[in-house]
């Protein structure tokens, strides 16, 4: 069978262009990218036609920072429900952080995650393994074995490496296996009991603050270690003006550092906590308007390479409690695309750059498939309606959890169809391809 997607406009960040092209897909791969009118199937061909008129078609979106909670906390999310949420949000691939229970610090956990992903059979799920055993900052995990088992990166996300010597050795050792090292930057002593950003709002609400410096100290450390070793480091979920400044400076000096931010850091600020809304509680915390502005500048100037969600599902047990007792984290897979498209409308980044940060750039950092639409490559793609408007509803999430600060907010732009390896894994009710 052949799938023929016609009428859409292709946005391929690798080429940086927007062009009307038909896509012909055969055996899961892109067989041809043809100017409209050039593909003329004969009557004996079995062709499924998808009419993408008025839509854009992008490489399948890739989220390099999610928490799918399996193994261990399946009541919050499973690899199957997380994959469903990802597909709905337009994502064809995700990288799963290792802070599950048990922590992904061994081949058996990595293989278990891949097995679950195979069973879910929706999107590509790439495990990220821990840097240290149990993420305890003591012993390195077996990077080589984990890589062979299928891990695409290492990170002690959620429980950052406190030992600078260990972090240095991790950068060095990971290089041998071509494993990216992802750092969750948090000085635990400085942010210890904090539950929100330290500033005027934490002072007003009487909530313990997490100073921006708690993140920035570690960003500075990772940059210095990347400089010392010459090996790359990737900074997760950048949230402050100071972090953007350090990363910009490091890039100017040629230090091998890449960085990501999450949509909430450029869409919200610490005032979202007023009223003690636990869906505005995450690490790093929502910062000040000036930080959100700096994040946008960082995105527009290429200082921040990637937009990742840090999708962190929690149930009501963790969220419907006193603010200081509530768990950190929000879900993001089903809101990331419209929030990013808002930046395009604001003029912060152009469409191709926005899509690059959601596909091509994370694919290159992790050295995984996808991120571009080319003949001969896997047909991982997303069809997006840039003009679809809707309100985020609590009950509409495919994720098992609905801890989102965006509930009730108006969004514009939606994934209408998500395709992984030529197979449709999500199709909106509002999208009716004629076949």
């Amino acid at each position: 069978m052949i799938t023929w997607i016609k009428g859409g406009e292709l946005v391929d960040p690798r080429k940086g262009e927007k062009k009307k092209l038909d896509i012909v897909i055969k055996r899961g791969k892109i067989e041809g990218l043809l100017p409209p009118g050039e593909f003329n199937p004969t009557n004996d061909m079995d062709v499924k036609i998808i009419d993408a008129s008025g839509m854009i078609i992008t490489p399948g979106l890739i989220d390099m920072h999610v928490h799918f909670r399996e193994p261990g906390e399946e009541y919050k999310e499973t690899i199957a429900t997380g994959s469903q949420a990802a597909a709905t949000g337009g994502f064809t691939a995700v990288a799963c952080m290792p802070n599950t229970s048990p922590i992904n610090d061994s081949r058996s956990v990595t293989e278990f995650i891949l097995e679950r992903a195979r069973k879910a059979n929706l999107i590509r799920v790439y495990p990220v393994a821990a840097i240290s055993m149990g993420s305890r900052s003591e012993l390195l995990t077996e990077f080589g074995d984990l890589k062979q088992a299928g891990a695409v990166a290492v990170s002690d996300d959620g429980r950052p490496v406190t030992n600078s010597e260990l972090m240095r050795r991790a950068l060095e050792y990971a290089w041998f296996f071509n494993l990216p090292v992802i750092s969750h930057c948090q000085d635990f002593d400085l942010s210890n009991n904090g539950v929100m950003h330290e500033g005027a709002i934490s002072t007003q609400l009487g909530l313990q603050g997490i100073p921006a410096a708690s993140e920035e100290i570690m960003v500075a450390r990772e940059i210095l270690l990347a400089k010392l070793t010459g090996y790359p480091v990737h900074i997760a979920h950048v949230s402050t003006e100071g972090s953007v400044k350090f990363i910009r400076q490091a890039k100017e000096e040629g230090i091998p550092v890449t960085a990501e931010t999450a949509p909430h850091y450029f869409s919200l600020d610490h005032t979202a906590v007023i009223g003690f809304d636990t869906n505005a509680k995450m690490y790093p915390p929502l910062r000040e308007p000036k930080d959100a502005e700096a994040i946008k500048r960082g995105l527009s100037e290429g200082v921040i390479d990637v937009i990742a969600t840090d999708h962190a599902p929690h149930s009501e047990i963790e969220k419907d409690v006193e603010f200081d007792k509530a768990a950190f984290g929000i879900i993001g897979l089903e809101t990331a695309l419209p929030l990013t498209l808002a930046l395009v409308r604001e003029g912060v980044v152009d469409l191709s750059t926005a899509i690059a940060k959601l596909s091509y750039n994370p694919a290159s950092i992790l050295s995984i498939k996808g991120g571009t639409l080319e003949e001969g490559k896997e047909a991982d793609l997303t069809i997006i309606d840039l003009n679809n408007e809707y309100v985020i509803e609590k009950d509409s999430f495919k994720s098992k959890s609905h801890n989102s600060p965006f509930i009730g907010q108006k969004m514009k732009g939606k994934a209408m169809l998500t395709m992984v390896g030529g197979r449709i894994v999500w199709e909106s009710d509002e999208f009716n391809p004629r076949s």
């Binding site: 330290e198 500033g199 005027a200 934490s202 002072t203 007003q204 609400l205 009487g206 909530l207 313990q208 603050g209 100073p211 009223g275 003690f276 047990i317 419907d320 409690v321 006193e322 603010f323 200081d324 007792k325």
Partner: protein, 302 residues
Amino acid sequence: MDQLSVSDINLILDTADSLMEISSRDIKKVPTLRGKSIVNFFYEPSTRTKASFEMAAKRLSADTLSLSATDSSMVKGETLIDTARNLQAMNPDIIIIRHSSSGAPHLLARYVDSGVINAGDGTHEHPTQALLDLFTIRKKKGRIKGLRVVIIGDIAHSRVARSDIIGLRKMGAEVTISGPPTMIPVDAESLGVKVVLDPAKALKNKDVIMMLRIQLERQKGILFPSLREYSIFFGLNQDLIKVAKKDVIIMHPGPINRGVEITGDLADGPFSVILDQVSNGVAIRMALLYLLIGGSKGDNLD
């Protein structure tokens, strides 16, 4: 305090004034709230505030039920929301809550129909303390507007300070905060106060001094090294007070650490209005119960 308007505050203080008289009667009880039920839900230990609310409720003839953390099922892992639903099932008129988490009364209020009074939440607010402080100042000074007030101590971790600042600013007083930099909250000026770290300078020309209790359990040798040193540099003593106005009043929410934040002779001396605060506290809480139950159900005080 954040939600109260100036006229709300004036109404509460005026009501307290008229109820003050009851406390001086031989039989200190009126039937105003007969048949009304009040739950005292203290999830954090408190002798004084709890006793003050109980006394206020009794003088108005309301039925009271007291729950504390140790005898409630909170210790058995019941969530605040579960507890709230259970309390709601008893259909009380008012729930008074004291809790160690900032914002806990907000959470409770979302799940109950009765009025909720915040008797202190975490390091957020302690509105009834602020109201009784305003009441005390107004009685002693005849006004609040234009007075110069200094608050000295651990401002960052004090719900009393936060509520007092909001109340005093609303009523037109000038507020200065003072203490070691480790105890001054970030962006303190956003609260509308002046920061003068050294108490010796901060006290200058002040009409009112509010001392805060040093929470021994809070500081782990990080906010300041020792009580001895604290008392030398930040404690109130006879020498320091000389720079304040001649008719200055000294306030303290209690309980006092004598010899730490304030010397014993000052606490008991002529400038001190610390015991007036305690009796005014009962009147303020009576006023609140009266206004909340007399008013529409579902009003909250925070």
